[in-house]
C-alpha cells in the first residue's frame, strides 16, 4: 500500500470504467471525477471518519453481483476492478434517509440563518431530494454559548458531523473545545462559555457544514453571500501570503473567507487574516487628500485629532504636489513592506533609485538582504506551506512561528504527523485518509519537531525537544547542529552547556534521519546570526539530502518583494535629511516610528516637506502629541491610499511567491498608492512615465529592470485577458439590489464602474465558468453553494486548482555544487549586570498593527508587559505585575513585570507592536528600574 502513490486503478462506476488514483478512497475518487456525491463528515483536509453515513454507495463484488451492499464511499479504498454505483436505488434511498435523520431535529431556520445560501446542508438536502418532513415529534434543543468575538454559536442547527472538533482539536491542536454528552444529545462547544483560544477558530465557520458556527463579525452587518462583491485577494497580516476572498457590500468590507490555494493556505486561514480586515472600515480612515501644518491654518478645518487640515479638492492635489516636488531640494522616497510591489517600484522611480529607501529598519534591511541571498544564492529551496506540512522533521530556530506566521504553525502541526503516518501506512497498512484509524494507531507518537526559542510557545506541546536561550545562543546551537551534519560546516567553538549539546545532537539526528527535513527561522528576533545558522543547517543537510528545505519567515506581507527591489535602510534617509541632501520625504504606507528610534523619527520628519500616502492616521501622519517626551510634527501632505481590498497589486510572500490581489471595490477618493505616484510622475512629466500607465506596464518594467523579478507578470493574467471575450465578474449572478441601492437618488441604474486594470468586472456580467485560478473571486458551482464547491475547481479533490495554483515563485535556489557556509559564529550571550537584552515577543493578536485595529482582534490583544526571567526578577526583588521602568536611552516605558521562568537570564521580552510601544527598534539593551526610585523621565504614552 505504501507503493500506491501515483498509481492509478480502473474502477467501475455505474458500470463505466474510470481511472482513479489508487491511494484515494472512493468518495475522493468520485468527487475528483466531477460526480455529485453528498457527504458531511469527510473533509478534504481532515479526511474520512465514516460518521455521517451520507456518502453511501452500493458496492458490487463483480459484474454478476446484482445485489451488492451499501458501503461508505469515504471509507472504501479504491482498488482495481472495484464496482460501485451512486445511482443504485437502495443507495439513493439510504442517502435520503440520512438527510431525513439529520433534519429531524434541525430548526429549519434557513431564512434567518447566516449560513443560508452558502450552506452545505442545504445543498446536500437538495441533492438527495429530501423535501418533506414526515416526523411529527418534538425537536430536541440546545443552549448556545458565547465563544468570543469571532464565532457565533447556534447548536440547534448541528448535524453532528464532528468536523468542528476534528478541525479545532485534532487538526489545529486546540484544547479548549470539545464534544460533550452522548446519543442524540451531543453538544459541540466549550465546557463553559468563553473565548475560543485558538488562532484558527474562525475556520469553524467554513468547516461547519451548517449554521452552527458562523462569522460573528460578519453578523454585525450581515449580507447574503450572493450580495457580496468579491475579488481574489491576498492577506496582508503576515508574510505567508494566504489567499483570501474579501467581500464588500454598500461600500464597506464585510468579511474575509479563505480562498483555496493548494500550495499555500489550502482550506484554512488564521483568525488574524479572517478578522483583521476591520481596520479598513475604521472611522479614522484617511479618505481625502489634505494638507496638515501650521501654514494652512487660514483655510483649515479641524480634523478629528484636533489638528488643522485643508482638504484638497479633486483638481488641487496634483498641482499642489507638483509645486512641492518641483521646489524640492532633494527627495527621499521611503517604501514599505506592507505596500504593493507596484507602489514601491513607482516610488523608487519617482525618487530615483539612489533616493529610494526600502523603509525597513536598518537592521531589518540587512536581515532581508541576507534572507534573499540565502534563498537565492544557496542550494536549498524554500517550501510552500503545503510542502512544509509534508516535512517529516523540523527544526524551528528562533522564530516564534505561531505568532508571526500562524499558518506555518498550522503546517508544522501537520508535519509532526508525517513520520508516524508513514510508519502506520508501512507497518499497519492504514491509508492516510482513514483519519481516526491513523490517529488511534499513532496515539501520542510524533515526528521530530525541535523548537529553539527565546521562550515558550504554542508549538512546544508537540515538540520532541525544546531549547530556550538568547538569540545568539540559539544561533550557536544552530551552528553546532550544522557542524554535526557536515564536516564542511564551520566548527562552533565552546563553551556549550551539556543540555545544549544534547539538544543539538538530537536535532542533528532527527533531521538527518528524515526524508524531507525542514529548517525554519526568520527575521523576527532581528538576528543575522540566526538566519545564517539556519542556512548552515539547511545546507549541511542538503549535502546528504537534496530534499532538505529552508523556510525563512519575513515580517510583513511584502517584505520579500520590497527586499527584491533593493534600496537602502531607513537610517540613510535620516542621514540624507540631516545632511540636507534632501528636504522632501515621501513616505509610502509606513509608520517610521516602527522603523526608527524616537530621535531618528523626529529627525526624519523634520524635513521641510513630508508627504505621506496611507490609509490610517499613523504617528507618521499625525506626529506625536505634545504630551510625549518628544513631540514630533507629522506629515504636511497626506494622500489617502487604498487598503488591500480597495486596490490591486502584487505581494511577494516568504515563500518568494508573487501573488496578485485585486480591488474588491472602490470607495471615495482613496486610490492605490501606485496610482497616486503614477499620476504624479505623469504630471511632473517624468521621462518614461507614460509607459508605466497600467499595472501590466509597471510589472513588465519591473521585470526588465530586476532579474530577480523574472516571471512576475505571470503571477496572474494580464489586464486584457478575456474568456470568450468576457471579463470575470466580481458579483455573483444572484447579486440583488443593484438598481435599488441608489433608487432614492436616481431610478436609473448607474453604469458599473470600469476596471481597465484587470480582467475582472465590477458587475455580475461576464464569464460564469471557472476562470484561471488567480482570478477566482468566489467558489460556486451548480448545486454547490457552500465553500465545498472548491472541489469543483480542483484538478482532484484536495489537489491543485485546475490550471495550477495561483502565484509565481520568484525565488529558487541556485545550482551551486557546494554551499559556502557562514563562518561568523557569535560568542555566547553575555548578560550585562545592569542592562537587559530586550527582545521582541510576538502576539498573533497585537503584534501586527493593522489587524489589531479591528475591534474583534482588539479584544484579544494582551496588555503591555515586560517579561523577565523569574530568577532575574527575584534578584531585583521584582514581583509579578509590579510596574517597572524600562529605559532605552531616549525612550522609556512603564510596564508591569511578567515573570517567565523560560526567559533566558539577562534577557527581557517586550511585546512587539502593541499600541503605545513604539519608538524603539528591537532588540536593544535597556535598563530596568523601579519608577520613583531615583531616575526621572517620562514614559511614552
Amino acid at each position: 500500500m505504501d507503493k500506491l502513490e501515483g498509481k492509478t486503478v480502473t474502477v467501475y462506476i455505474e458500470g463505466k470504467p474510470c481511472q482513479v488514483k489508487a491511494e484515494q478512497n472512493m468518495l475522493e475518487a468520485c468527487l475528483s471525477l466531477g460526480m455529485d456525491l453528498p457527504y458531511f463528515c469527510w473533509h478534504p483536509a481532515m479526511h474520512s471518519v465514516g460518521a455521517c453515513r451520507q456518502c453511501a454507495v452500493k458496492q458490487f463484488k463483480d459484474e454478476n453481483d446484482k445485489k451488492g451492499k451499501i458501503v461508505m464511499s469515504c471509507m472504501t479504498q479504491a482498488a482495481e476492478g472495484m464496482r460501485i454505483s451512486i445511482k443504485d436505488p437502495e443507495a439513493v434511498k439510504f442517502r435520503a434517509g440520512v438527510i431525513e435523520w439529520l433534519m429531524l431535529n434541525h430548526p429549519h431556520d434557513c431564512p434567518v440563518c447566516d449560513e443560508g445560501g452558502e450552506c452545505h446542508l442545504q445543498d446536500m438536502t437538495v441533492m438527495t431530494g429530501h423535501t418533506y418532513r414526515r416526523t411529527r415529534f418534538k425537536k430536541r434543543t440546545h443552549k448556545n454559548q458565547y465563544l468570543g468575538p469571532f464565532i457565533n454559536h447556534e447548536m440547534n442547527r448541528c448535524i453532528q458531523c464532528y468536523r468542528c472538533v476534528r478541525f479545532y482539536n485534532h487538526y489545529a491542536g486546540g484544547r479548549d473545545f470539545g464534544v460533550f454528552g452522548a446519543h442524540d444529545n451531543v453538544y459541540f462547544g466549550r465546557h463553559e462559555d468563553g473565548v475560543l483560544e485558538s488562532e484558527f477558530s474562525g475556520n469553524l465557520v467554513e468547516v461547519c457544514p451548517t449554521g452552527v458556527f458562523t462569522d460573528r463579525v460578519f453578523k454585525k452587518c450581515y449580507t447574503r453571500k450572493w450580495d457580496l462583491q468579491t475579488a481574489p485577494s491576498i492577506c496582508v497580516h503576515c508574510s505567508m501570503g494566504c489567499n483570501i476572498i474579501p467581500g464588500e457590500r454598500y461600500g464597506n468590507l464585510r468579511r474575509i473567507r479563505n480562498r483555496y490555494n493548494g500550495e499555500v493556505n489550502g482550506y484554512f486561514i488564521c483568525d488574524r487574516g479572517r478578522y483583521g480586515f476591520e481596520f479598513a472600515n475604521s472611522p479614522g480612515r484617511i479618505r481625502e487628500p489634505y494638507l496638515a501644518s501650521g501654514d494652512v491654518s487660514s483655510l483649515a478645518v479641524e480634523g478629528p485629532d484636533g489638528k488643522n487640515k485643508k482638504i484638497l479638492a479633486e483638481g488641487e492635489v496634483l498641482p499642489y504636489l507638483k509645486t512641492v516636488i518641483g521646489g524640492a531640494k532633494g527627495i527621499i522616497g521611503i517604501g514599505s513592506p506592507r505596500a504593493s510591489l507596484e507602489a514601491n517600484y513607482l516610488l523608487r522611480k519617482l525618487a530615483g533609485p539612489g533616493n529610494f529607501c526600502s523603509g525597513f529598519s536598518e537592521a531589518e534591511s540587512g536581515l532581508m538582504r541576507e534572507m534573499i541571498s540565502i534563498l537565492s544564492g544557496g542550494p536549498v529551496r524554500t517550501p510552500s506551506l503545503r510542502e512544509a506540512a509534508m516535512s517529516d522533521a523540523v527544526l524551528v530556530l528562533g522564530q516564534d512561528v505561531p505568532n508571526t506566521a500562524p499558518m506555518l504553525g498550522l503546517a508544522l502541526r501537520q508535519a509532526v504527523r508525517q513520520k508516524p503516518m508513514d510508519r502506520v501506512l508501512r507497518e499497519l497498512k492504514i491509508p492516510h485518509w482513514n483519519d481516526y484509524a491513523v490517529r488511534d494507531a499513532m496515539q501520542e507518537e510524533r515526528g521530530p519537531l525541535f523548537m529553539a526559542s527565546v521562550t515558550g510557545g504554542r508549538l512546544d506541546d508537540i515538540a520532541a525537544g525544546v531549547f530556550h536561550a538568547a538569540p545568539d545562543d540559539i544561533a550557536r546551537i544552530g551552528f553546532r547542529v550544522a557542524q554535526a551534519l557536515s564536516p564542511n560546516a564551520p566548527r562552533a567553538e565552546g563553551p556549550f552547556s551539556a543540555e545544549a549539546l544534547s539538544f543539538a545532537d538530537r536535532v542533528a539526528k532527527g533531521l538527518k534521519e528524515a526524508k524531507r527535513p525542514l529548517v525554519v527561522s526568520g527575521t523576527g528576533m532581528g538576528s543575522l546570526a540566526l538566519l545564517q545558522a539556519a542556512a548552515n543547517i539547511a545546507w549541511a543537510l542538503w549535502e546528504g539530502n537534496r530534499n532538505a528545505a529552508l523556510s525563512l519567515v519575513a515580517q510583513e506581507c511584502n517584505s520579500v518583494g520590497l527586499a527584491l527591489l533593493g534600496g537602502t535602510g531607513i537610517n540613510d534617509a535620516v542621514r540624507a535629511v540631516e545632511e540636507k541632501r534632501a528636504d522632501t520625504v515621501i513616505i509610502l504606507e509606513n509608520d517610521v516610528f516602527d522603523r526608527l528610534d524616537l530621535p531618528g523619527a523626529e529627525a526624519l520628519l523634520r524635513a521641510r516637506q513630508v508627504i505621506v500616502l496611507d490609509f490610517l492616521p499613523t504617528h507618521t501622519v499625525n506626529g506625536l502629541p505634545k504630551n510625549h517626551m518628544v513631540s514630533v510634527a507629522g506629515a504636511a501632505v497626506v494622500l489617502p491610499s487604498a487598503p488591500f481590498a480597495e486596490g490591486s497589486g502584487t505581494l511577494v510572500s516568504s515563500e518568494g511567491r508573487a501573488q496578485r490581489f485585486y480591488k474588491v471595490f472602490s470607495a471615495g477618493r482613496a486610490e492605490e498608492s501606485w496610482r497616486w505616484l503614477r499620476d504624479l510622475m505623469v504630471d511632473l512629466g517624468m521621462p518614461g512615465s507614460e509607459a508605466l500607465f497600467s499595472p501590466d506596464e509597471v510589472l513588465s518594467a519591473m521585470e526588465r529592470e530586476f532579474p530577480a523579478m523574472r516571471g512576475i507578470v505571470e503571477a496572474a493574467p494580464a489586464s486584457d485577458f478575456r474568456i470568450d471575450g468576457m471579463k470575470v465578474p466580481r458579483q455573483p449572478k444572484r447579486y440583488s439590489g443593484r438598481t435599488a441601492i441608489r433608487a432614492a437618488m436616481d431610478v436609473h441604474e448607474p453604469k458599473p464602474a470600469e476596471d481597465a486594470d484587470s480582467p475582472l468586472s465590477f458587475s455580475m456580467e461576464g464569464y460564469d465558468g471557472q476562470p484561471p485560478s488567480p482570478l477566482i473571486s468566489r467558489f460556486w458551482a451548480p448545486g454547490w453553494n457552500s465553500v465545498q464547491s472548491v472541489n469543483k475547481f480542483q484538478s482532484e479533490v484536495g489537489g491543485p486548482l485546475r490550471g495550477g495554483d495561483p502565484g509565481r515563485r520568484l525565488i529558487e535556489p541556485s545550482k551551486v555544487k557546494q554551499a559556502s557556509y557562514f563562518t561568523d559564529i557569535p560568542g555566547p550571550f553575555a548578560p550585562r549586570g545592569n542592562e537587559f537584552f530586550v527582545v521582541p515577543l510576538y502576539h498573533v493578536f497585537g503584534s501586527e498593527k493593522l489587524s489589531a485595529l479591528s475591534p474583534g482582534i482588539g479584544e484579544r490583544v494582551p496588555s503591555p508587559y515586560i517579561a523577565l526571567n523569574t530568577e532575574d526578577a527575584k534578584s531585583k526583588a521584582l514581583s509579578q505585575g509590579e510596574e517597572v521602568r524600562i529605559d532605552f536611552g531616549v525612550v522609556s516605558f512603564r510596564l508591569p513585570v511578567e515573570l517567565d521562568p523560560l526567559m533566558p537570564r539577562g534577557a527581557a521580552g517586550f511585546p512587539f507592536g502593541l499600541p503605545g510601544l513604539h519608538g524603539v527598534v528591537l532588540p536593544a539593551w535597556g535598563r530596568i528600574s523601579v519608577p520613583g526610585a531615583g531616575a526621572g523621565g517620562q514614559a511614552v504614552e
Binding site: 484544547r175 479548549d176 473545545f177 470539545g178 460533550f180 454528552g181 452522548a182 465546557h191 463553559e192 501520542e444
Partner: protein, 155 residues
C-alpha cells in the same frame, strides 16, 4: 482542590495507566466516590491535576452515564428499565418507588436522601426486577412493596 485522600486514590488509579490522561475515567470515579458528583469546580481542579484541560475532561465525563455532572442525593437508586426487568414488573416498581419517594426518574428527594435514575440492565436478570442503591444490588422486587423495607435501610 483535591484533598489528600482523593489525590491518593486518583494516583492509585493512574498508577498502571499509560499516561495521566488515560486514567481520567478512573480518576473521575475515585473523586466522585468522595463527593457524590463532579461539580464544575471539581472538574477544573481535576483537569489541572490530570494535565488536561477542563474541556478535554468534560468531553469524557459527560459521555459516561455513571459520572454525575449534576448533584445527586446521598443515595443513588438506579432502577433497571431494560427488557428482562420490563417484562417482570419494572413499571409497577417504578411507579411504586416514585410514589413513595415523590420523585420521578432523574429527580432527587427534597431532603437530599435519594436520587432516582433510570439504568440499563444491571446484569441480574435472573432476579428481575432489580434496582441498585449505591453499590448494592436488590433483586426480585415483585411485588414492588418489597422495596420499602430496603429503602428504609438507606438514611
Amino acid at each position: 482542590m483535591l484533598n489528600e485522600q482523593e489525590m491518593a486514590e486518583v494516583e492509585k488509579e493512574l498508577a498502571h495507566c499509560e499516561n495521566r490522561k488515560t486514567g481520567c475515567i478512573g480518576a473521575l470515579k475515585a473523586v466522585q466516590r468522595h463527593r457524590g458528583w463532579i461539580s464544575d469546580e471539581c472538574l477544573k481542579d481535576m483537569a489541572l491535576y490530570l494535565e488536561m484541560t477542563p474541556d478535554e475532561l468534560d468531553d469524557v465525563a459527560t459521555f459516561y452515564s455513571s459520572i454525575y455532572r449534576r448533584p445527586v442525593g446521598r443515595h443513588v437508586i438506579s432502577i433497571c428499565d431494560s427488557v428482562s426487568c420490563y417484562t417482570v414488573g419494572y413499571r409497577e416498581l417504578l411507579r411504586h418507588i416514585s410514589e413513595r419517594l415523590q420523585i420521578g426518574p432523574g429527580q432527587t428527594t427534597g431532603d437530599g436522601r435519594f436520587t432516582l435514575l433510570p439504568a440499563a440492565c444491571l446484569g441480574v436478570c435472573e432476579k428481575a426486577p432489580a434496582i441498585m442503591i449505591d453499590e448494592d444490588v436488590h433483586g426480585g422486587l415483585e411485588p414492588p412493596g418489597k422495596v420499602d423495607e430496603i429503602l428504609d435501610r438507606y438514611k
